[in-house]
């Protein structure tokens, strides 16, 4: 069987090269299917004696071990080939099982199985990204020069559109996990869409996964934020009045033509919205910024027992998605309290999964407004880099007009 030869060849090549380091660095564990036990023996031997076993020692332990001449190619060739063939084998197995599930449990279960397994395979067969920071200093200097010379790009991340946030936090950077907290009706979703709109206006492509609103509501809300009351109000769009359709069309053409995409995923388009689906959508659209609305509405693929466990699992996985895909993730979390929550922004401790959140989040921001008020209070509850901050935002949600304030 071809697979056996590739695994055997890799084992022989490792011993011939007298080096296990490249294989470990590139996470070859998952490349072994039929001879995982031999690989584990070789790896364990190296850990114990700081050198690889000879082929005779391996043969003594495993009668099926074959002696193969691997001098024709470097070790990396055998690592790559073994990985490719293990992936092919795993894909074949997944497809076979998927067909079985399709027959037994229907298309939704089969789709979910494919999504989960394809992500696992991609993760397992991919290598960790290693960098030598000493050797890479020129890359950092070049990046700094670009930002230094162009005032529009002086922050490292995607601009939030708020001077305070960008100066205190440096914009939304790759791998950031940002959480927006707020009581019900505090305008959290509006804030996240504003961040999406600001990123888009700066040339980035956001992906919004919204489990709370439908496509039309989302579209009109985004239009309102972008238009800022120039042509129409949100209520005009929602109730089909007040603005000339041609004026609306004209504005939309000018605004959206030849611009980066804004991808939206709503719950009417997906069966189960869990972390696997989120990751699959990120793979599909490759966004620059991901917005998840909202935490409590996502299903936990790991099936945590309590609500808090589910929230913690999602928090960990959303952070991992941010890091793995090198994108900032903005997660919205509604905070609820028995009785009256009072007239203040929620604290970090008032979130059921606050401890996990404290580990995972790079920025936790609470937003608050008194009932029907246009004055929002924005306050950081955790800032992993930079100083804590707070400011007011005067924002008419219906017209979209807004202004950052310190004195009210």
């Amino acid at each position: 069987m071809i697979t056996i030869n590739y695994e055997m060849s890799l084992l022989n090549s490792l011993i011939d090269a007298e080096s296990i380091v490249p294989a470990v660095e590139q996470n070859v564990d998952e490349s072994f299917i039929d001879h995982k036990d031999i690989w584990e023996f070789v790896h364990g031997y190296y850990s114990k004696y700081s050198k690889l076993p000879t082929k005779s020692i391996v043969k003594n332990e495993f009668r099926e071990f074959e002696f193969i001449d691997t001098s024709a190619a470097p070790l990396q060739f055998y690592i790559d080939e073994a990985r490719k063939h293990a992936l092919s084998e795993n894909v074949r197995t997944t497809l076979h099982d998927t067909i079985q599930i399709l027959r037994d449990s229907g298309p939704n279960a089969a789709l979910n199985f494919v999504a989960m397994n394809s992500l696992r395979l991609m993760k397992n067969t991919g290598a960790l990204k290693d960098t030598n920071l000493t050797g890479d200093y020129l890359e950092r200097v070049e990046d700094f020069k670009v930002r230094y010379e162009d005032p529009e790009k002086n922050i490292m991340g995607i601009p939030s559109g708020f001077d305070v946030i960008d100066k205190h936090f440096g914009g939304w950077q790759k791998g950031d996990f940002i959480v927006i907290l707020g009581w019900t009706g505090s305008g959290k979703s509006w804030f996240s869409r504003l961040f999406a709109a600001n990123a888009w206006m700066a040339g980035y492509s956001p992906l919004i996964i919204s489990l709370e609103m439908n496509k039309e509501q989302e579209g009109y809300r985004l239009d309102t934020i972008l238009n800022q009351g120039e042509t129409f109000r949100n209520s005009d769009l929602m109730f089909g009045r007040g603005v000339n359709p041609e004026a609306y069309e004209d504005w939309a053409k000018r605004t959206f033509q030849n611009r980066p995409p804004i991808h939206l995923v709503t719950s009417d388009g997906i069966e189960a919205a869990n972390q696997n689906v989120v990751e699959a959508k990120v793979e599909q659209y490759q966004p620059d910024l991901l917005i998840l609305d909202y935490h409590g509405l996502f299903d936990d693929a790991k099936k945590g027992g309590t609500e808090t466990e589910r929230a913690k699992n999602l928090s960990k996985d959303f952070k991992r998605i941010a890091v793995r895909h090198n994108i900032p993730v903005i997660d919205i979390a509604a905070v609820t309290m028995d009785g009256n929550h009072g007239e203040r922004a929620p604290a970090l401790a008032e979130v059921a999964w606050s401890k996990q959140l404290a580990y995972d989040a790079d920025l936790v921001m609470a937003v608050h407004r008194n009932e029907e008020s246009n004055l929002f209070e924005v306050v950081s509850r955790k800032v992993r880099r930079g100083h804590p901050f707070a400011f007011y935002l005067q924002w008419d949600l219906d017209s979209g007009k807004r202004e950052e304030l310190f004195d009210v």
């Binding site: 100066k167 205190h168 007239e343 203040r344 901050f389 007011y392």
Partner: protein, 107 residues
């Protein structure tokens, strides 16, 4: 609002009315109101007393309210309001600090 028993009862009556509820007075209310005044004098004063009355009336589900109902819940409400007031002060302090930092960065 002045911090007197009479003012407290007037405040309860007016606030209840403004919220479509009835504050139902009983014989011993004046004595108990004086006791509440002493409590508020040691716990934030007239301003906190008024905030407590407003919150209590707003959250109370019964349309008819007795002073005793207020007495039973007053401890929790005062604590909530104290935390909120502290939080509000902290928020204002952080806003000022942020503003100063932003000015410093711009100079």
């Amino acid at each position: 609002m002045n911090l007197t028993g009479e003012a407290l009862i007037t405040c309860l009556t007016n606030t209840a009315e403004a919220n479509g509820k009835i504050f139902f007075q009983t014989e011993k209310d004046e004595v108990n109101a004086e006791r509440l005044v002493k409590f508020f004098a040691a716990n934030g004063g007239a301003e906190v007393a008024q905030q407590c009355v407003e919150r209590f009336i707003r959250n109370e589900r019964q349309p008819v309210i007795f002073l005793l109902d207020f007495v039973v819940k007053i401890g929790t409400i005062v604590e909530e309001i104290k935390i909120e007031n502290q939080d509000r002060e902290e928020f204002k302090r952080l806003v000022r600090q942020t503003q100063e930092r932003m000015k410093g960065d711009n100079n």
